[in-house]
Symmetry: C2
Subunit: 464 residues, 2 copies
C-alpha cells in the first residue's frame, strides 16, 4: 500500500529565510544524502552515523559546492514517518532551496505530495487517521482555542474515545456472531439486557460527540457573531476597539457564505467571526421585509447576536425590529449594546436600558470610540462561548468527515436499539453493530479507502 | 564586546509552513530550553545531552502542552555562533511560532536583532567580517552567478586575498618601524628596493580587486542591459521570448534609478537587468535632443546595449540615432537586433545587415514573436558577461564597503610608492603603510567599530 519511493520537499514556509529545511523520507534517504553531501572528513558517510544526530558538511553538485548545511538524521522506525528521515538545514535563499531540491530529484528522490509525510506516518502505524488530520489542523490553527483542540486530537483525544466505543461493541458482536454458529440450538451468549444498556450508552456518547461538532467547528473556524445595527452606529469602531483592547489579530477572510467578508478578531484566545449584516434602516418608517429576512438569516448563522444602538440617534426602527425578532434573539447569546454614551443624553440611555430589561436582554453601555466600558462586553463574549455543556477536558469534534461518520454510526446504533426492543434475530443485530463499527472505524482510519485518504491528505501543506 | 544575553529568533521564512525553526544562542540556551521542554522520560534534561544530537519532546507552558517538537543541540565552541545553540523544530503554525517565541522571552531570552547570530559568529572568531557579510549575500542570492560569488566569499575567498596582502605588508612595516628605534644610527633594515617592488605588486593586486567591483557588483545585482528602440518595436515580446526560452525567472524590481521599473531575467545562471529606455522616436523627423540625452544616460549605465529595429517599419530615425551614438556604443557590448524578419521584406533586412557591418556592430536577425533565432542572441548576452579579464577562479568584489576600503588602501599604497621614489623618511613611510593596513583590515574586520558592525548587520534578515 505504501509507495516505496524516497520523497523530498521543502518543509519550511516558502520564500527567503535565514535557514530553510528540506526533508527526505524513505529507505533511500540516507544513501541519497550521501550522494550529494560531503563531511569535512571525506571518509565519513551518513549511512554509518547514529540516529538522532546532527552533521555539518557541504552539498556538492558536480564537485561544485552548493551550500554548507547541517544534516539531521532519524532512522526507521523511530521517526515521524516511521521511515529513515533526513532533514537538511540550508541557507534560506530561494535559489539554494530550489537547487537542492532539484539535486535530490536528480539523485533519485521524488517530490512529496501534499501531506505525504503524514500519510506515511499513518500508513506505517505511527498515528491513526484522526491524529494525522489533526496535524494539518495544528499547522493552520491561529488561536489558542483552535490550537488546543488540534493538539488534543493529534495527541489521540478523539481516537481514544472512538477506540473505547469500538472495543466495547466488538466484544458484543463476537458474542452475537458466536450465537449464529449455534443458531440451530437457540442459545444466547450475548445478554440482550446488557447489550441494550451498552448500546444506550454508546448511542449517547456518539450523539454527544456528534453534537459537539457545531461548537468544536465554531471554536476551530471562529465563533460566528452577528452585529445588528445601522451602518453609522459604530460597528467598525467597536471592532477596532475590541481589537486594540486585546492586541488581537484581525484579518479579512472570505466567509463561508461567499457574499460577505468577515472580520476575524481573537479575544481571550478564542477566534470570533463577525458576520457583516446589512443596516436594517430603510427610507420609510416601517422596516422593509427583505431587510428583515436578510438580517434574520445572519442571526440564524450566528451563535452570538449583538444589537448595537447609537444612543445619540433615533432608534425607533431598531426597537421595532428587536420586538419582532425577540423570540429568535433569545435562542442565541444576545445582548444590547448602547453606544456613544459619552455624547448621548441620559434620558435616552435610561430608556434603552429599560427596554433591554423589559426584553430580558443583557445591556452594555459603552463609548466604542473612546474604548470605555469594553471589559463587560469582552467578558460577555468569552462567557457566551464557554457557557455550554462542554468542559475543557471534553473531546470536541471539529472535522466534518468525523461528524458525518458519527451521524452514520448514530443511525446504525439507533437501529441496534430498536432491533433489541423488537427482539430481532442475531444476524440482523450483528449487521447493524458491524455497520456502527465500520463508521467508527472510518474516523480512526481502521477502515479506509485510497480515495478517502487521497481526499484527506490533498489539503495538507507540502512538506508535512 | 559581546552582549552576554541568550538570544532567540524564528530562523525560517515568516508565515505558515509544515515546520518552523526557532533558534537560541548563548550561555543560557540549554538551561532555558530545559525550562520549557519536557522529554518523554521526565528525568532527562537537555543540559546533560551530547552535542550534535536531536531530541523529541513537548513544549510546556504552565503545564499545558504547546507543541510536540524536535530539539537540535549544538555546544560551544563547535556551533555557528561559537556559543551553545538550540534549534527547536515546531509545527509551522504562526500561532505556535509566536507562542513559543513569547515563552522563550518569558524564560529569559531576548529577541535577536537582525544578523545577530552571524555577528556573534564574527565576534567569537568563527568567521571574519567579509565572510559574515557573505552570509547575507548568500541568503539573498537569486542566480547561479550571485550565489557562486557569495559562497566563495563566505568560504574565505576575499579574506584570503586580503590577509595575504596584509601579512606581506606587516613584515615590512615592522622592519621600517624597527629602523625608527635606531633612527640615530641611520640603519636600513627594510630593503627599499624590495619594499618598492612589493608595494608595486600590492598596488596592482588592490587595484585589480577594486576594479572587479563593477563586474562583481553587476553579477551580484544583475548585468545592466539597455534595449534601445521604439515602443512598438517588440521589446517586451523579446523579453518574454528570452524568458520562455530559458525557463528563467522574471520579476519587477525597483531600479537603482527610482524612475524606472526594470525587468530581471536569468539567462544561463546570470541575472540580467533590462533597463527601460524611452522610445527615441519623436513627432518631427529630427530626433529631439532631450530624448537623446535621456537614452544616452541609460546607455551609460548599461554594460550591454541592444538596439532593436523593426525591419518591417521605418527605421530612418534609429539609424540617425545609431550614427550619432556610434562612439558610445563601441565602448559597450553592443549589437543590432533586426526583429520581425518573418514579415519584413528581404531588401530591408539586407539594408540593415549592411548597416550593422558598416558600423562594425554584430547583428542578429530574429522574430521575437515566434521565438526564432534566439540562440545566437542568448550566446551573445552570456559571452558579453564572460568576455573580460576575470577568470572563474578570480576573487570578485561585490560589496560597496569593501570597494571603498580598497580604494582607500590603493590611495595609501600609492603614497607609499611615491614616498619610496622620493626617498622620504621611515616614519612617514610607516604611517602610509599603517594606513594601507588599516583599510585592508576594515574588510576582514581586523579593524572595526561598533558603528560599522551595526551598519553591516542591521541589513541582515532576522534569525541569521
Amino acid at each position: 500500500m505504501i509507495d516505496q519511493n524516497t520523497i523530498c520537499a521543502i518543509s519550511t514556509s516558502p520564500g527567503m529565510g535565514a535557514i530553510a529545511v528540506i526533508r527526505l523520507s524513505g529507505s533511500e534517504a540516507l544513501a541519497i544524502t550521501d550522494s550529494i553531501f560531503q563531511f569535512p572528513d571525506k571518509n565519513k558517510q551518513i549511512v554509518n552515523q547514529d540516529p538522532n544526530t546532527l552533521h555539518y558538511g557541504s552539498i556538492l553538485s558536480n564537485n561544485e559546492i552548493i551550500d554548507e548545511v547541517i544534516v539531521a538524521l532519524f532512522k526507521a522506525p523511530h521517526s515521524f514517518t516511521g521511515e529513515d528521515i533526513v532533514e537538511i538545514s540550508c541557507h534560506g535563499s530561494v535559489y539554494i532551496q530550489q537547487t537542492l531540491l532539484q539535486l535530490l530529484i536528480e539523485h533519485g528522490c521524488r517530490i512529496a505530495k501534499p501531506g505525504e509525510f503524514t500519510q506515511r506516518a499513518f500508513l506505517n502505524g505511527k498515528m491513526d487517521l484522526s491524529q494525522a488530520e489533526a496535524v494539518a489542523d495544528l499547522i493552520s490553527s491561529s488561536s489558542k482555542a483552535s490550537h488546543g483542540i488540534a493538539l488534543k486530537q493529534m495527541r489521540g483525544g478523539v481516537s481514544t474515545e472512538i477506540k473505547s466505543l469500538r472495543n466495547q461493541l466488538l466484544t458484543f458482536t463476537s458474542l452475537v456472531e458466536l450465537e449464529l454458529d449455534f443458531s440451530e440450538e437457540d442459545v444466547e451468549f450475548a445478554n440482550r439486557k446488557e447489550l441494550s444498556s451498552l448500546s444506550t450508552n454508546i448511542h449517547s456518547t456518539i450523539k454527544k460527540l456528534a453534537d459537539s461538532f457545531r461548537y468544536g467547528n465554531a471554536l476551530k473556524n471562529g465563533i460566528p457573531v452577528a452585529i445588528i445595527g445601522d451602518a453609522n452606529v459604530g460597528k467598525s469602531t467597536l471592532l477596532n476597539a475590541l481589537l486594540k483592547e486585546e492586541k488581537a489579530i484581525v484579518s479579512d477572510i472570505a466567509g463561508t457564505t461567499r457574499d460577505v467578508i468577515e472580520d476575524v478578531v481573537i479575544i481571550g484566545g478564542i477566534q470570533f467571526r463577525f458576520i457583516d449584516t446589512a443596516g436594517i434602516r430603510t427610507t420609510s418608517d416601517t422596516i422593509e421585509t427583505i431587510g428583515i429576512e436578510r438580517t434574520f438569516d445572519k442571526i440564524e448563522q450566528a451563535d452570538i447576536v449583538l444589537t448595537l444602538i447609537d444612543a445619540d440617534s433615533s432608534f425607533n426602527e431598531i426597537i421595532m425590529f428587536l420586538t419582532r425578532m425577540s423570540e429568535k434573539l433569545h435562542e442565541k447569546h444576545s445582548a444590547l449594546i448602547i453606544n456613544k454614551i459619552d455624547i448621548a443624553n441620559n434620558e435616552m440611555i435610561d430608556e434603552l436600558v429599560q427596554m433591554g430589561d423589559a426584553m430580558e436582554l443583557p445591556t452594555f453601555q459603552l463609548a466604542a470610540k473612546h474604548k470605555t466600558n469594553l471589559d463587560q462586553l469582552i467578558k460577555f463574549l468569552i462567557d457566551s462561548v464557554q457557557d455550554n455543556s462542554y468542559s475543557q477536558n471534553d473531546v470536541l469534534i471539529t472535522n466534518a468527515r468525523h461528524y458525518e461518520s458519527l451521524r452514520n454510526a448514530e443511525t446504525a446504533i439507533t437501529r441496534v436499539l430498536v432491533g433489541l426492543q423488537n427482539e430481532i434475530s442475531g444476524d440482523f443485530l450483528s449487521q447493524d453493530i458491524r455497520e456502527c463499527l465500520h463508521y467508527l472505524g472510518e474516523i480512526t482510519g481502521d477502515i479506509s479507502t485510497e480515495e478517502v485518504l487521497g481526499n484527506i491528505f490533498k489539503n495538507f501543506c507540502i512538506g508535512k
